[in-house]
């Protein structure tokens, strides 16, 4: 048997490893699982409220929400090879934050995570709170703040959007590393040692993936802008959606 055949055979016979970038089921001790779940609940409730407001304000928003979930689905199913020789995936949270605001994203992110838990065995129920906190809360908020901050410096809106999505993605994995290090501190070097280890695995792998996420976010927003769906200046604001609504009714009366 040639060496190559052996590798192929091994590949087939080895139990498949779950590839997702979230904390795996059972890998957070009970107390941390409870703490992160409790920490996330208020943001989830806020998200529900903001989502309801959105839909009440503009019923077409439901379609936009569906698109935001769809974008997150596509991106999180694409596990990209990275320079370190391991794979990771984007989250799609930055794009959603730009269209429906960071608050609603806590609900959208949770939907995606729950889907992955039940159908793909990625992430987990006991780690859902922690994963949602990192991906559905911290990621979108960081994207939003970076965008706002960059906009003030006067850089092009696309650069601001790219950096927002890029840093939002990275921040999610930064938080994941912190969560893991808190739960599993190194025996010798404690929290910092463990954090260094985890960020070493996630960090460099995540950089090219985060760049891809930033680029794809700009691409889709470009498509929306060129079809007059949203104005560049109205990203991350509720105004953008009102505009869509008034335009629709304006056409109706013509």
């Amino acid at each position: 048997m040639t060496k190559k055949n052996l590798y192929v055979l091994l590949l087939v016979l080895l139990p498949t490893q779950a590839y997702s970038m979230h904390i795996m089921e059972g890998y957070l001790p009970l107390q941390w699982s409870v703490i992160w779940s409790l920490a996330f609940v208020p943001f989830f409730l806020l998200g529900l409220r903001s989502m309801k407001r959105l839909v009440a304000l503009a019923p077409e928003k439901r379609m936009v929400l569906a698109m935001v979930v769809a974008f997150a689905f596509v991106l999180s199913s694409l596990k990209l090879p990275s320079v370190t020789g391991s794979s990771s995936h984007a989250t799609g949270m930055g794009f959603g934050a730009a269209l429906v605001g960071p608050a609603s994203m806590s609900v959208v992110g949770t939907i995606v995570l729950v889907f992955q838990v039940f159908l793909l065995a990625h992430g987990g129920l006991t780690t859902l709170g922690a994963n949602a906190f990192a991906m559905a809360f911290v990621g979108p908020i960081v994207t939003y703040l970076v965008y706002r901050g960059m906009k003030k410096t006067g850089v092009s809106l696309r650069v601001a959007l790219f950096l927002g999505a890029f840093l939002g993605n990275l921040s999610t994995y930064l938080v994941t590393s912190i969560q893991l290090a808190l739960a599993h501190p190194d025996e010798a070097s404690g929290f910092m040692g463990a954090f260094g280890k985890f960020i070493g695995v996630f960090g460099i792998t995540q950089i090219p993936v985060a760049i891809v996420e930033g680029l794809l976010t700009v691409v889709v927003v470009n498509i929306l802008v060129s079809n007059d769906f949203i104005k560049e200046n109205d990203l991350f604001s509720i105004k953008g959606l009102r505009l869509f609504k008034s335009k629709v009714s304006a056409h109706g009366t013509k």
């Binding site: 890998y27 391991s86 079809n227």
Partner: protein, 99 residues
């Protein structure tokens, strides 16, 4: 119109970059199977902490084939909805321009 042509060109460049990054990563990653980063983290925890997970997945795909089926399904549903929406707003804009 000028704006749309510019955006279109920009998107071509961006998509090209999106293609280049993983391809270059594949070469830089060298002789690797490109397993998930979370799997590596699990190994780290297992050896450093002698930790045993206390809860198991409620359900896991029976094998690689089923898993890739579910993954493709996720991507297909996502892409379907996304491009339905883009087609919808494109058609809407075209209809508005015709008036």
């Amino acid at each position: 119109m000028e704006r749309n042509r510019r955006l279109k060109r920009q998107n071509y460049y961006l998509l090209l970059l999106v293609l280049i990054i993983p391809v270059v990563s594949l070469f830089l990653g060298g002789n690797s199977e490109f397993g998930g980063a979370d799997g590596m983290v699990v190994e780290l925890i297992d050896e450093a902490d002698r930790y045993t997970p206390w809860f198991d997945n409620v359900w896991a795909p029976p094998g690689g084939e089923t898993e890739s089926l579910l993954f493709s399904l996720q991507a297909a549903i996502g892409a379907g909805v996304l491009f339905y929406f883009i087609g919808y707003i494109k058609g809407k804009r075209a209809a508005a321009n015709d008036k």
